[in-house]
Amino acid sequence: MIAESGHYALVLALALALIQSTVPLVGARLRDPALMNVARSAAVGQLLFVLMSFAALVMLHIISDFSVANVFENSHSLKPLIYKITGVWGNHEGSMLLWVSILALFGGLVALFGQNLPLSLRAHVLSVQAWIASAFYLFILITSNPFTRIANPPIEGRDLNPVLQDIGLAVHPPMLYLGYVGFSISFSFAVAALIEGRIDPAWARWVRPWTLLAWTFLTLGIAMGSYWAYYELGWGGWWFWDPVENASLMPWLAGTALLHSALVMEKRNALKVWTILLSILTFSLSLLGTFLVRSGVLTSVHAFATDPTRGVFILVILCLFIGGSLTLFAGRASALKQGGIFAPISREGALVLNNLLLTTACATVFIGTLYPLALEVLTGAKISVGAPFFNLTFAPLFVPLLIAVPFGPMLAWKRGDLLGAAQRLLAAAGAGLAAIALVWAWTRGGAVLAPLAIGLAVFVIGGAVTDLVERIGLFSVPLATAARRARGLPRSVWGSAFAHAGLGIALIGIVCETTWNTEHIGTMKAGDSVNVAGYELKLEGLTPRPGPNYRELAASFSVSLDGEPLSVMTPSKRTFTTRGMSTTEAALLRRGVSQLYISLGDTTPDDAIVVRIYHKPMVLLIWFGPVLMAFGGLLSLSDRRLRVGAPRPAKALRAMQAAE
């Protein structure tokens, strides 16, 4: 009964979505409030039914009802409860159900909390949202039904892919989906604006929280995914320029550009058409990511199923939505009124530069990801576009972007003063140069460019700090006044400072990890010890241990520094009987923001074991940066104030204040 109720609820959600995608549109055309309001209650109803359906699937996984094919294929009665639950979205069908649940969640939130929206805009937004939802409900019901039953249930399930039996599965996919799917709201707003044929700063005000929310979760989702890959795959790498990673990076880059251009639009009524286009592109890239991962075009840990009908179905959805929205854009964009004007050197100008660089970077990743696939389809040749390509193309785009980041907030709206901004950034630049000198003096070896990159990162952080210091007048007014001003400063200002500083912090981590990483790979026997980056690691012994649904071989290493014992690290290798697969569980020892990392390889016949030991300096900063960025996003999100970009009048040449 649970299974069938869940199945039926999903079908009801489809029916409600179909009504929601048509009736409000008619209502908006007729200006009938009752018909337009159908969108709200239908969206809430849809959310309830999808949640019911999702809860049913979770319940089926918890009670191990193997009469449901999805549970049988991806669960095992001995699995710990947490993995029974996370296993719900550790497979294709379940993760698609999570996808539409989040889609319905965003629709429901707009319906519930969108009272400040004009009636017709809300009706249009929810209708467009329901089109997307209907397409994906159909996709799930027809090609990937999680409620397919088995008449004679097997006694035991096939277990979840062991790599996914990790706490990371509880965090990474939901976060990432909140990000991916969250951008559907900006998309719906953009299409709604195009249908209505008008757009103004109020529009940007209404989209802002949704874009920020999606961006924040996407940032966290990507960072979490990267950390998970780092400790679970056992290679100590945190970014592989894998097509699936790129598929999440592309919407992030476009979404970051969107955040900034929407800011210009809200405050200055400029860049309107561009913002609409970015909204469409960002969600299109999210859909593209879904297609790449689900169609079987790629094989990776993310590609759950390789069923060609699914690929074709998603391709049709992709073409329909991207093609449809871009056609609508082409037809309507010229009719949209262009907004405010600004000088090239101004806050607007800086944000345009930001957008140019981000979208170019996004295009680079797009080409690097899709070119090999297109080439394989057309000529059959297999080429691999890996890190060298991305390092050569991505880095030159990000360096000017990072140099420009501190300048942006320093410039005034409409017409700015570059020289003045540069003068005010002297302290930050000084800090950067000092960092370069220090790094050069203290480190041995590594890339020549590494100290320069660290200097750049320090400059970015310094710029964020300078911006805050200037706004609260830390060194020019009495401390009490500064503290009062700091409290009065809009949270969005704090948010952007944190986000920009996060960028610099992540860069420091990336540079340090790639440049001064020490590694030792070799076979060790009990009693052997090695020295890695000053740490003495001794293999005490290997012990087999049983787990709930696996057996593991744990190695125990005692770690000491200068003869002082520090800790014991126990990496292990798990063998999962049901799927006959094994995973490595790396052991991590945190030292400040650096880490020692041990993962086990295969055992050799003479009772020795292959070990990989890494010392990764500053590695945690790589993920701390994005977390800081997400925190900035949340701060900004919590700032419900209106945003006004006061222009600097041409006459007023004194008062160099950067206006908020």
Binding site: A15, L16, P118, F147, A202
Partner: protein, 367 residues
């Protein structure tokens, strides 16, 4: 029945969600518009000026801009008054009342299995003992062993059952565990090797072979291990070794050993793809006979072949078949004799002689 009641309630809730706004009198609720956003923005400028965030000239410029937007927005809203359209509302209500349930049923029925109840794990493992399927018992034993992995006797019981279920990989592991926890016996090693071979589709892999060798080392008389070692030799192309291993088995074995026939058949297969001189039909006939009769029949046929070859010695294939037949019957002297006669018969024909030598080599006799 309960299920359909639940479905009906859910459908009613969905219909209600659509009908609710249609039924409400069309009083435009707090319709947040652009004008209110711009009004808020103006208030925000005042606050910013008060807190010293922006200067007065900037504030004035911003007020002018926002004022313009406010006027534009007010004009826009005035042009779009709300209306009420009864016809379309009725149409929407009909869509909800009829269209929604019809569509839902039409989609659900072909996809769903409303007659199938739930089968949670708790319920499935409560099934009465008599009807409990083999798989369920295996699962129980496996669960027990998962918790007590050192129960060698348990592994020993489980392993052959797993083989029967075709779960070779698990059976291999079970036998391994049985050997580690219940003791090293020739029998277990031989069984393990057999499963390994089965898992590899009948090929005696190096791993399997080493298991058989271990078994033979523990007990030189282990028939299964010896048989498979012969098979391994055959698969490696060392037919002579295979023949000698099996021959040795037959020599040592008691007359009533149950596996005698199997080894004999294997020997027959190796020494000639088309068993000595018999066609499939006669072979089938021979299978039905008592041991003595069969032997008599084979002998008479071999004699016939020998006579034929004496008259016409050019048939190399025939000679080889005859030598094989004598070897299978365990009559080595006659085999040697037949070999010598064969060499004599084809001595003048280098092509045939070469053929004969190769054939003899394959039989394990020096070419």
């Amino acid at each position: 029945m309960t299920l359909w009641l639940v479905f009906a309630l859910m459908t009613a809730a969905a219909i209600f969600a659509v009908l609710l706004p249609l039924g409400l009198r069309g009083s435009p609720s707090s319709d947040g518009g652009e004008a209110s956003v711009y009004g808020d923005q103006l208030a925000e400028i005042d606050r910013d000026v008060a807190s010293g965030q922006i200067g007065k000239p900037e504030a004035d410029a911003a007020r002018v801009e926002i004022g313009r937007r406010l006027i534009a927005a007010a004009n826009q809203e005035a042009r779009l008054a709300l209306t009420s359209n009864t016809t379309w509302r009725r149409a929407a209500a009909v869509l909800a009342l009829v269209g929604l349930p019809v569509l839902t049923i039409a989609v659900y029925l072909p996809l769903g299995s409303p007659r199938l109840g739930d089968f949670p794990l708790a319920e499935r493992s409560r099934a009465p003992d008599g009807t409990q399927p083999l798989e369920a018992m295996v699962a129980q034993v496996e669960q027990h062993l998962e918790k007590n992995p050192t129960d060698g006797r348990g592994w020993n019981v489980l392993a052959p059952v797993l083989v029967r279920l075709g779960r070779y990989d698990d059976a291999i592991m079970a036998y391994r565990n049985a050997i580690s926890y219940a003791g090293d016996t020739a029998e277990r090693h031989a069984d393990l090797g057999e499963v390994m071979a089965a898992a590899a589709g009948g090929v005696i892999t190096a791993d399997a072979k080493s298991e058989f060798e271990r078994a033979v080392a523990l007990d030189a008389n282990d028939a299964k291990a010896s048989y498979f070692l012969g098979l391994a030799a055959e698969q490696d192309g060392r037919r002579a070794d295979a023949v000698s291993i099996w021959q040795a088995m037959l020599d040592k074995a008691p007359q009533n050993a149950p596996w005698r026939a199997a080894v004999q058949a294997a020997l027959t297969r190796v020494t000639g793809a088309t068993a000595p001189v018999l066609s499939n039909d006669t072979m089938a006939a021979a299978n039905g006979m008592a041991a003595g009769d069969r032997e008599a029949m084979i002998r008479s046929m071999v004699e016939r072949l020998a006579t034929r070859l004496k008259q016409n010695g050019n048939d190399v294939e025939g000679w080889l078949r005859l030598v094989r037949a004598y070897m299978v019957m365990g009559d080595r002297d006659k085999a040697r004799g037949a070999e010598a006669s064969a060499r004599e018969a084809v001595a003048n024909d280098s092509e045939r002689l070469k053929q004969l030598k190769e054939g003899l080599k394959n039989l394990g006799l020096d070419g």
